[in-house]
């Protein structure tokens, strides 16, 4: 089939079904830990809303600010919070990411819990200096006299189907390289609520990237109460014995589907690991898995070179060299900006992941 017709088909199916299909994925609802009690069906923006609601209720100092958060936010994450907590605690800021993050550092330095929203991760860069040179070093450079651990920066992240260059980015690799901060990416509503609460309460400045495509399409039973999920702990989402698959955020659902395909079509058993915290990351869980399987692949939407997959691959070969039976595969976005109409061809979709499984299976 010609490229043009393939593209047309891909785009038509996007329009028809309302979800990305040709290069897309189906969200696989997660099940909550029954020990966490009563649940209700929530999508991801609702579960994030719940996390912030609980955080602000329990911590009377906590403030939430950023562009457009007052009316509920462009993704509705802060719906109802200004009504509930008042405009001194939930407020709009002028349009300035460097100001928002610098301001947030100051709020946190004063001992107040600060939740700073950046409207899209693609726009976090004006605040990069404040994050790298200030937030990450605030405690260290002061000999622990001061800290801004009460700061959490939240930003919508990742491919959304039509986001193009400036509404699709996954910048976690830039921030993983900065000692002093934490970087977290949830794969769905249950994780988003628990991990966000952990970030807000963590004593280090945290960056919480929220896969924006999951805000509405990802819905599942989410515990209504106050619960946290541990940071720096990866989760084995699907057990397997032949291949270790490592990812975070949206791509976990692609990997889960590929694992099923691999089992049904190739007889290959895949273990899917959600890293959850990018920095500091849980390499022990990865190592344990690779020592079992000998074959590993890392998948992320961000471009290949210097993506976080490179760090994981380096760590695996360093710690599991003699266990490896194949080179570590990385299935990622291409080393290009995230081009609009080409999204189905850009993302590390299930076919590219499936191919990687075959490469790993067939290597030796």
């Amino acid at each position: 089939m010609s490229c043009g017709r393939l593209l047309k088909r891909a785009l038509t199916s996007v329009k028809k079904d309302g979800i990305r299909t040709a290069a897309g994925f189906a969200y696989i609802p997660q099940t909550p830990n029954p020990a966490l009690g009563e649940t209700t069906k929530l999508n991801m923006f609702q579960s994030i809303n719940s996390a912030m609601d609980i955080a602000m209720e329990k911590d009377s100092s906590a403030v939430l600010f950023g562009e457009d958060v007052a009316f509920g936010g462009v993704f509705r994450c802060s719906l109802g919070l200004q009504d509930k907590y008042g405009s001194a605690r939930v407020f709009n800021t002028p349009l300035t990411e460097q100001g928002i993050i610098g301001f947030g550092i100051g709020v946190a330095a004063a001992g107040t819990t600060a939740i700073a929203e950046i409207q899209f991760a693609d726009y976090i860069y004006p605040g990069f200096d404040q994050i790298v040179n200030e937030a990450a070093k605030y405690r260290y450079r002061s000999g622990n006299e001061y800290n801004c651990g009460g700061l959490t920066v939240r930003a919508p992240w990742g491919a959304v189907g039509h986001g193009a260059l400036y509404h699709s980015q996954s910048p976690e690799a830039f921030f993983a390289h900065v000692p002093g901060i934490k970087v977290v990416v949830p794969r769905g509503p249950i994780q988003a609520k628990g991990l966000l609460l952990s970030c807000i309460r963590d004593q280090n400045p945290c960056i919480f990237f929220e896969p924006k495509i999951l805000y509405r399409m990802a819905a599942e039973e989410v515990p209504v109460g106050d619960y946290t999920l541990p940071l720096s702990q990866a989760e084995v989402v699907r057990q397997g014995s032949d291949i270790t698959m490592i990812g975070w955020g949206t791509v976990i659902h692609v990997l889960l589907e590929v694992a099923t395909m691999a089992e049904e079509q190739l007889g290959v058993s895949c273990e899917v690991i959600d890293l959850q915290t990018i920095m500091p990351y849980d390499s022990a869980t990865i190592e344990k898995s690779v020592q079992k399987t000998g074959k590993a692949m890392v998948v992320h939407e961000a471009p290949l070179t210097q993506g976080f997959g490179a760090e994981i691959a380096a760590r695996i070969q360093e710690s599991c060299f003699l266990h490896l039976e194949a080179p570590i595969q990385r299935v990622t976005g291409w080393d290009t900006p995230f081009a609009y109409i080409y999204e189905p061809f850009y993302l590390p979709d299930k076919w590219r992941c499936f191919e990687a499984v075959k490469k790993l299976r067939d290597f030796m």
Partner: protein, 426 residues
Amino acid sequence: MLTLLRRVRCLTPATFGFSYFHHDSVRDEPTPFPGVTSEFTKDLRFILPEEVPTIPVYRVLNSQGKVINPDDDPNFDEDDIVTMYKFMIRTSIMDRILYQSQRQGRISFYMTNFGEEATQIGSARALKFKDVVFPQYREAGVFLWRGYSPLECMHQCFGTAEDFGKGKQMPVHYTGAKVNIQTVSSPLGTQIPQASGYAYALKQRDSSACVVCYFGDGAASEGDCHSAMNMAATLDCPVLFFCRNNGYAISTSTKEQYRGDGIASRGIGYGIPAIRFDGNDLFAVYNATKAARKLAVEQQRPVVMEAMTYRVGHHSTSDDSTAYRSVDEVNYWDSVDTPINRIRSYLTDKGWWDEAREKEFRAAVRGEILRAFSTAENTKLPNPLQIFEEVWHDIPEHLQRQKDEFLQHMKEYGGNYPLDACEDMK
């Protein structure tokens, strides 16, 4: 000359109100737009910056140290003003000794405060201890005034184990929790939006305190400064944006730094009250800071303050300013009209100071500073394992691994490293 006169033309409050309407323009009806509260006009008229009067410089003392208008005299008692004078001298002597020590290779780097002693001591005196200070790097006088000792400064400059910052930063990057002053950091202007945020949080707990943020004429060009002021204005943050306009950002003079009327003129652009004053006039600095503080606290809003002064010293020990400015220019501010000289004149006129006391005090301070220097120079450096501490609140596993690797390396190769200068590794 005419241009100069025009620019320094004195303004009455009425003319300083400055109307954008031509005197015979017909005012139309009010505007309905959400973005402004104003009136329509039929006049197509540009606002030319060169036609707007520059903001005058408030002062109390003339260059001979005489109070111009007795109503403005803060009327300090003898003890008070002599103490302030002494702090100005101490800052200056500490600077001289530490600068020289860098030239001798005993510390690696230093930045002096010459010429800005009144800006620092006068403003510090007007603040309350509970007012949080965000410094840039040329505010050592503020640290000393609040109770940071020269010895503590030197521990930081040498990076010893006694440094509150644990040897993490290069000289003059003091951290002052002891004196309610935030840590100095090298990136310029980053402290300004942090000050806005801190003030926002502070006012929820204590509406009688404010934040004071110092920065220079160069740092004021940073985007962070603009963002900070705009946010402080929209969010009603009680913060004093204290600009030390000392004429230079390393070699870049203010003529190359901005085209507008300094930093004070930007206040109105953000909806922030502004004041410009003589930074070399201790009394003007004190009065202006006291008034600005009152405004900020009572009205819970920011204030832009511009202290006009002169950077007598080089930017730092890495700079030789003779490369870009005349010795005559520096000489004027270093000997003809200095903040220290003005106060000395004032004190001498009052009979509260004389040459003998000056000589005696200077000798005593020199002795104190040199003793502190010797102590710091002979203090051990921190345990090298400190490198790995306090990056995160708790040390994560991957860094612990690196720390273990480091320890292993030191076991075998430790003899090649300056461990004798450090406290023991444990």
